[in-house]
């Protein structure tokens, strides 16, 4: 019964399904149509975005898949404007690292319209963007940065951890009436997973308990969910039974599920690929430490990348990215901890 497809295909399928279902859904981004709009001499639909995620959509929806010049402020802003006018644009901000040239349209415009305008605006825009290290793409193409978006009231932030999640969360994102930042980990695009063919939604703000356990709670985000699962297998061998929670969305955040778990396990490890300062990991840690203080048997451990840019050299990048071993060590620190 299983139908295995990749994270990339799951995203592509979510887009295709929603475009079929709702003519107001449009897709735009650099090379998203793939040179076709350019009337260039080559094959139509040549690229489908730099890593091929939108490939094939142009063929089916030639009027609703748009290439853009390299003008992120203009086209992300256009997506935002179009969302106020009855469309449901899905704009691709190729690498999340490029937010610096268009952040204003996201955080001062899209995120604030509804509040500033006294509740009279609806801005159903989705910004798909690639994040994360692992491709040897160095400091300007490997960042995580979802903490920056999570900070901003008015934005919803999604970090799918596998193909199934990616599809259901993207369909929800497209149908959602608020601006959504949809963060795709580029090292997951080839990850295979069992994904139903039809449309389904995964609601925002509902964490997924990936693994049940009683000794320690591990909250992990995006690609780190797989790492946490590996760590849990290893820990199981040493008699430590870890519960793994994937929040799925960093904003809204399902604090309830996390706190309920920590109240049972008494221990928490939060795993986040981002830099540590003002990270989602520390955010979750602080919330839990405030709300479940009485239940904590050990200090919350936070596993993140170091406070450095992402290095290029593969040997350094591998050291930079939080590892399964880092998670195992953090769990051990928590379980071994004595007052």
């Amino acid at each position: 019964m299983a139908r295995m497809i990749s994270y990339r295909e799951a995203i592509n399928e979510a887009l295709a399904l929603e475009m079929r279902r709702d003519p107001s859904v449009i897709v735009m981004g650099e090379d998203n149509a793939g040179g076709a709009s350019a009337g260039s001499p080559g094959e139509e639909d040549a690229w489908g975005g730099v890593l091929g995620v939108t490939k094939g959509l142009y063929g089916e929806f030639p009027d609703r898949v748009l290439d853009t010049p390299i003008s992120e402020s203009a086209f992300i802003g256009a997506a935002v404007g179009a969302a106020t006018a009855g469309l449901r644009p899905v704009a691709e901000l190729m690498f999340i690292d490029f937010m610096g040239v268009c952040f204003d349209q996201i955080f001062n415009q899209a995120a604030k319209f509804r509040y500033m305008f006294g509740g009279k605006a609806v801005t159903p825009v989705v910004i798909r963007t690639m994040y994360g290290a692992g491709l040897r793409a160095a400091a300007q193409h490997s960042q995580v940065l979802y903490p920056l978006f999570t900070h901003i009231p008015g934005l919803k932030v999604v970090v799918p951890s596998n193909p199934y999640e990616a599809k259901g969360l993207l369909i929800q994102a497209i149908r959602d009436d608020d601006p959504v930042i949809f963060c795709e980990h580029k090292a997951l695009y080839d990850m295979q997973g069992d994904v139903p063919e039809g449309a389904y939604v995964i609601p925002f703000g509902e964490a997924n308990v990936v693994r049940d356990g009683d000794d320690v709670t591990i909250v992990a985000l995006g690609r780190m969910v797989s790492y946490a699962s590996e760590a849990a297998e290893e820990l199981a061998g040493t008699g430590v039974d870890a519960e793994i929670i994937d929040p799925r969305t960093t904003s809204p955040l399902d604090t309830e599920t996390i706190i309920e778990s920590v109240e049972r396990t008494g221990r928490l490890v939060v795993v986040d690929e981002s830099n540590p300062r003002c990270s989602v990991a520390r955010d979750i840690s602080a919330i839990v430490a405030e709300e479940a203080f009485g239940a904590l048997k050990a200090p919350i451990q936070v596993v993140t990348a170091p406070h450095t840019p992402v290095p290029f050299s593969d040997v350094l990048e591998d050291l930079y990215i939080p590892s399964t071993q880092d998670i195992v060590n953090a769990v051990k620190t928590a379980t071994d901890w004595k007052r």
């Binding site: 010049p69 003008s71 203009a74 404007g81 509804r114 500033m116 305008f117 509740g119 009279k120 959602d176």
Partner: protein, 331 residues
């Protein structure tokens, strides 16, 4: 190098349309003059940027627009709001921070918006609007509504990358979009003759594949004609236009500005160039409207603005519950 010549005014507006145009300009002027007075009392919170002197731009453009069309504005947005039909009393209440305001008191002068009227917001970010109207224009194009979208922005904003990118995108996508550069000579205290490296802002049009037009911003008819041409072309699928409107703002950058950076160009403008005076002279000379017609409008608007202030002052403030609503759809 000047991209294109000034467009000469022509005519052909019905008496009703002329009355509407005059009413629009007069409403803006009255609204802004009154705010200037009220601001001095200290009762109005925050930053207030007045549009007085520039009425012919918002009016000359927006008299061509209808409910299919969208505009995006700037920090100096009252005139554009009024011209696009936003309720004057709601605006005044908004500027006073009242619950009855257009944005429930949560936006203020710099963020008045009314999407139901196609007014996508004043904007606190210089250059914030042009990308947005590429989106509303795209929506109109995809939905086939025949709608056009207009971004108003200042001379200062014409140097902002977001504005420049948006012009290129509008051409590349062949959008029904109009870019109205309101060149009032200054961005805060910085002269446009210094900050805009071209002779005219309109010179930038050709670099983004669109016609560039310069108009006398004190002349309603000049703006109206240039905008009419551009909007008709855009509606017909002919793509975007950049219109540079030149004039002087009558007050400081914001209320409180001592304006030591400029010599008194305002007195002369008010005396000799003023758009309302010129409009009155022209339509009474040609006999298109009578002085009585215009006086009646003046009185009507005086009354409206007076009421808007009285009502705004008496209106209730937002309450604590309002702080946490409208962040998202569901709360």
């Amino acid at each position: 190098m000047t991209a294109t010549a000034t467009v000469r005014t022509q005519e052909g507006l019905s008496a009703d349309k002329l009355r509407d145009a005059y009413r629009m300009m007069r409403t803006i002027r009255e609204f802004e003059e009154r705010l200037h007075t009220e601001f001095a009392t200290g009762e109005i919170p925050g930053f207030v940027h007045l549009y007085a002197g520039e009425e012919a731009s918002a009016t000359g453009v927006c008299t061509h627009l209808d409910e299919r069309d969208t505009i995006a504005s700037t920090h100096r947005g009252h005139g554009h709001c009024i011209a696009k039909g936003v309720d004057v009393k709601g605006m005044m209440a908004e500027i006073y921070g009242k619950a009855t305001g257009t944005c429930h008191g949560k936006g203020g002068s710099m963020h008045i918006a009314d999407l139901a009227k196609g007014m996508l917001g004043a904007n606190g970010i210089v250059g914030g609007g042009p990308p947005l109207i590429c989106g509303t224009a795209l929506a109109a194009k995809i939905q086939g509504t025949g709608g056009v979208s207009v971004a108003f922005f200042g001379d200062g904003a014409s140097n902002q990358g977001t504005t420049l990118e948006a012009m290129n995108l509008a051409s590349v996508w062949n959008l029904p979009a109009i870019f109205v550069a309101e060149n009032n000579g200054y961005a805060e205290s910085t002269a446009s003759t210094w900050s805009v490296a071209a002779d005219d802002i309109a010179d930038r049009a050709s670099g983004f594949g669109m016609p560039g037009v310069i108009v006398d911003g004190f002349d309603f008819f000049a703006v109206h004609e240039a905008a009419g041409e551009a909007i008709a072309r855009a509606r017909a699928g002919g793509g975007p236009t950049l219109i540079e409107v030149k004039f002087t703002r009558y007050f400081g950058h914001f209320e409180g500005d001592q304006q030591t950076y400029r010599a008194d160009e305002v007195a002369r403008a008010r005396e000799e160039l003023d758009c309302l005076k010129r409009f009155r002279a022209r339509v009474t000379e040609t006999g298109e409207l009578s002085a009585d017609d215009l006086d009646a409008i003046d009185a009507e608007i005086g009354q409206l603005v007076e009421e808007s202030v009285v009502e705004a002052k008496a209106a209730p403030l937002p309450t604590e519950a309002d702080l946490l609503t409208d962040v998202y759809i569901n709360y």
